[in-house]
Amino acid sequence: MNFVRLSLVVAAKDLRSELRTKEALNASLSFALVILLLFSFAFDPSSEQIAEFSGGLLWITFAFAGALILNRSFSRELANDCLDVLVASPVSGAALFFGKALANYALLVAVEIVCLPVFGVFYGVRWTRQFWWLMLVILLASWVMTVMGTMFSALTVNLRLRELMLPTLIYPMLIPALMAAMQLTTLILAGSPVAGDDLIWLRLLTGLAIIFTSLALGLVEIVLVR
């Protein structure tokens, strides 16, 4: 119970700080909207092909925008050496990590939800047809992205080029999760049922979420105390 309570305290602190400054939120949201706008010039929204790569487009946008939120996660603690004070406090590395991941997840999902109607308008895609399936995929894949990103945000926090290092490190590791999310999203946006062999992608996402979360919770203490 202590773990959950302390994680929620850390998450509330991060969300409160972010909602006051809106640094990551504004940057991420505006970046996502600009990418969606630019891609809409590159592709003809009325073409048949749009259905085939809509999932890919959406997840590339989410991955780029997500990196801006995730980058700030631990770097916001550098001002006034707040990270030292947090690590020295009786909060376990796992609770600290989980709290930060929860805050990042809330911000990332919020940006994604705002992007969905914009995506629908720009690309002429009916994204509400299988809304709950789409939400399930977004929630699962975003959690995988959040866990990986938060972990690597902790790992790269003391690097000068952390803004560059984080995406460079996490994108290759996110390939399986992004592939699964893109496949499922394309299916869902095309109105096809998620069934049969396609369920393997959902299982893959669930598996990755469990594996990455367990690894991150187990290893974060080593990352924070060097």
Binding site: A79, N80, D81, C82, D84, V87, A88, S89, P90
Partner: protein, 233 residues
């Protein structure tokens, strides 16, 4: 049982040993001043004590517990080079946050008491980014003492403090020692440190060159220790 027990600690950064087989202790109610020139290893040792860095070899026990254990950290207060408070939160929110992290009862009431004690009660709802330097320092001191720690780890505590914050810190340190807290502080400000210290450890290039009680000679002549045990040894 010593409040702080450091036993044969080494710390390497790559191949470079920043701390070399350091052993020292501080009992409850004692104030141990870690002295030494820049690069002597004082901050590295304090960071290991605070659980921010792991020793490469050797052991650290705080009240008999591992320095990274929750029990040890619940009883430890750390004031490092940075003030360790959030600019985008108010003074009250900062103190409430740390009261919750230290699992204290009634965080709101406690935050209010400490804001009053540090003279920040009128600015309780203001964001820290609007604070003057002196106000931030007093808030940082309140943050470190909030949970009445049994061990206080202070890294250059008097550097850059204004008069009011120095007065506050000295008063709180005195009160902490009277209730039995052990204080370990690193400093360059010899006179202030020696006035507060009951024990002194001089670090030279990562090694303990002198460790023992603070003597009248040291107090009368703060340079005495460096002349007898400093770089020449």
């Amino acid at each position: 049982m010593a409040a702080v027990a450091v036993d044969g600690v080494w710390k390497y950064f790559g191949d470079f040993p920043a701390i070399r087989e350091v052993s020292l202790t501080a009992d409850s109610g004692e104030c141990l001043a870690l002295l030494g020139r820049n690069g002597a290893g004082k901050t590295t040792l304090l960071r290991i004590l605070a659980g921010l860095s792991a020793a490469s070899r050797g052991g650290i026990r705080l009240f008999g517990q591992d320095a990274r254990s929750v029990q040890a950290r619940l009883r430890t207060g750390y004031l490092g080079h940075g003030i360790g408070v959030y600019e985008e939160l108010s003074a009250r929110e900062n103190l409430e946050l740390f009261a919750k992290l230290y699992q204290l009862q009634n965080p709101g009431k406690l935050a209010g008491e400490w804001l009053e004690r540090t003279g920040l009660d009128r600015a309780a709802g203001s964001l820290v980014r609007e604070f003057s330097r002196g106000m931030r320092q007093r808030l940082a001191v309140a943050r470190a003492f909030l949970h009445e720690p049994g061990i206080l780890l202070l890294d250059e505590p008097f550097t850059a403090l204004d008069d009011r914050a120095i007065q506050l810190l000295e008063g709180l340190l005195q009160a902490a020692r009277e209730r039995g807290a052990a204080v370990v502080m690193s400093t360059h400000q010899l006179r202030e440190a020696l006035e507060l210290a009951t024990r002194v450890s001089l670090l030279v290039r990562g090694r303990v060159a002198y460790s023992g009680p603070r003597t009248a000679e040291m107090l009368a002549d703060p340079g005495w220790l460096y002349r007898h045990y400093g770089e020449a040894t």
